[in-house]
């Protein structure tokens, strides 16, 4: 057993949290797209000490066949924690908690995806938690949504997610592990930033109505910020794939009437005859 003790306070007299953050401050987030060569799409996220990798395969042929949906693709999310991701070794067998989080992640992502474009297929999302330090389900959604975009799955927007919690009676954004364990509650949420729809909202602990509404407001702000980071990470990944010297070229793109526009149009757009 690890010998972790409850800290004396979660919010210091100065109003700062155990890792020195202000109540409405996120942990530093690092997102990277295209980390795995063999997957159709992949992304990783570092959020504080949490480290998660997500890989997407598909759309591809669905096995077992009886799961096939005739009007859209089946979204299969699998959330797994590495045995070494937590202080006490996690048993390698899939747990009830992992199955639940897998389902919750699939439900949070599905409203953003245009799965009806690929009937009778499956889109597989594999999420591997390498190191867990609180907020893994939200971090997993952030990474998985980037991996889906990287795989070329059409979607209405990226899906950012963050948790809001309560410690020492105060609402705090983006819980760390200790705050999660010893705090008084936890509200993980995910949104579609374009329409401000909520696709994930869970609650653990006691919140008054006012507190919950305020927590959702804080979560929205946090999600919007994470959404900006996601967009940036995605654009950066594709800019990096440009060859050397292409940087200058990109500036005067507009002047060149090179073959790209016409050739892609001809073969790519059958619906143009409207």
């Amino acid at each position: 057993m690890s010998t972790e003790k409850r800290p004396d306070y979660l919010i210091s007299p100065e109003g700062l949290r155990i890792d020195g953050r202000r109540p409405d401050e996120l942990r530093p987030i690092e997102l990277e797209v295209g980390i795995l060569k063999k997957a159709d799409g992949s992304a990783s996220i570092r959020q504080g000490k949490t480290y998660i990798m997500a890989a997407v395969y598909g759309p591809r042929e669905l096995h077992p066949k009886h799961l096939t949906l005739n009007d859209r693709a089946y979204l299969r999310a699998v959330y797994r924690m590495a045995t070494f991701s937590v202080p006490d070794r996690k048993k390698p067998a899939p747990s009830r908690r992992e199955r639940e989080i897998s389902m919750v992640i699939a439900n949070a992502l599905e409203p953003a995806l245009f799965l009806e474009e690929f009937p009778r297929t499956v889109v597989d999302v594999f999420i591997q938690v390498i190191q867990a330090d609180g907020g893994t389900r939200c971090a997993a959604i952030n990474a998985a949504s980037l991996a889906l975009a990287d795989a070329g799955i059409p979607m209405s927007c990226l899906v950012p997610a963050v948790a809001v919690g309560k410690a020492d009676g105060k609402l705090i954004l983006d819980l760390g592990d200790a705050e999660d364990k010893y705090g008084q509650g936890d509200v993980p949420m995910a949104i579609l930033p374009n329409t401000e729809e909520i696709t994930l909202l869970q609650q653990d602990g006691k919140f008054t109505k006012e507190e919950l509404l305020e927590a959702i407001g804080m979560g929205m702000t946090g999600c919007r910020y994470i959404h900006e980071l996601q967009k940036e990470a995605l654009k950066k990944a594709y800019a990096k794939r440009a060859p050397e010297g292409a940087g200058e070229e990109e500036e005067d793109l507009g002047e060149y009437d090179d073959d790209m526009e016409a050739d892609l149009g001809e073969s790519d757009l059958p619906e143009e005859d409207e």
Binding site: D40, G41, G58, P59, R60, E61, N70, D71, A112, F114, E117, F118, P119, R120, T121, V122, A149, D150, A151, G152, P154, M155, S156, C157, L158, P193, N194, K231, L234, K235, Y238, A239, R241, A242, P243, A246, E249, E250, L253, G254, Y256, D258, D259, M260, E261, A262, D263, L264, G265, E266, S267, D268, L269, P270, E271, E272
Partner: protein, 254 residues
């Protein structure tokens, strides 16, 4: 506020607002309350008043009329099941491949592992894709090699009215068939030329989202093929290469 919110050929991300007002949404975009948003990571483009996003990634989704290169994976009665890449397995009926009368055991004609050039006859959301081998140049491939590239990059490899692929063929004097499913058949007179061809195709695949690519591939090929000629390896003109000219014409339509 009406207008366009992207630069020509800008890399856009899903959910990004592209245009508002009298613009029409098409491939790779979606429409919500008269606004056009991107649905993909790709390059945004405007043609007339139609906005589209050209994908940079993605699997092969069949379309009627596509030329594809596939491998037989199963012989099922009077059907061949054909792997054409992507999530959907093709089905080739003997009636669409053989002249009647044909033997009951159709594995005599094509068997598991054979590589075929086919055309997509029909494909919709509920069934298919159904393939056909009736047409010029649709046949079994018995020599050469098949190179796999990302299907999203195929339009770039072919180029406007075949400019890119024809340029490569002219340089290297090789025969190729480019399948819309991301498979390229190459037959070349010697290994060095074949390697150079692969290098050219991989170069296009890696740099598909950059401009003036035709010029860069052209100068790379010119440089490298003069080197080859110097060592005596080099492309030699093979008389037999004329045989399949009509088949190659298939590609020029794209």
């Amino acid at each position: 506020m009406a207008g366009i919110f992207f630069q020509k050929r800008e890399v856009v991300v899903p959910g990004q607002l592209l245009a508002e007002g009298r613009y029409r949404s098409s491939a790779g975009t979606y429409d919500a309350d008269g606004k056009v948003f991107s649905a993909l990571v790709g390059l945004a483009e405007l043609r007339g008043n139609t906005v589209k996003v050209v994908p940079l990634e993605g699997v092969y989704i069949p379309r009627e009329g596509d030329l594809v290169i596939g491998t037989v994976v199963m012989v099922a009665g009077n059907n061949w099941r054909i792997d054409i890449g992507g999530p959907y397995q093709g089905s080739l009926h003997a009636n669409n491949a053989l002249r009647r009368p044909y033997d009951e055991d159709i594995s005599k004609y094509y068997d598991i592992g054979d590589v075929l050039v086919c055309e997509v006859l029909a494909f919709d959301r509920t069934s298919g894709p159904f393939l056909s081998m009736r047409g010029r140049g649709l046949r079994r491939l018995t020599d050469g090699m098949v190179l796999d590239v990302s299907p999203a990059k195929i339009p770039r490899i072919i180029g406007r009215r075949g400019s890119m692929i024809n340029m490569i063929k002219d340089h290297l004097r090789i025969q190729t068939i480019v399948g819309q499913n991301g498979r390229i058949w190459i037959r070349s007179p010697d290994v060095e030329t074949e390697r150079l061809a692969i290098r050219a195709f991989k170069m296009i695949e890696d740099q598909a989202h950059t401009s003036k690519l035709t010029d860069r591939v052209n100068s790379m090929l010119r440089e490298e093929s003069t080197k080859l000629k110097g060592t005596g390896g080099g492309p030699k003109y093979v008389a037999e290469a004329k045989d399949n000219d009509d088949m190659e014409d298939n590609n020029d339509e794209y």
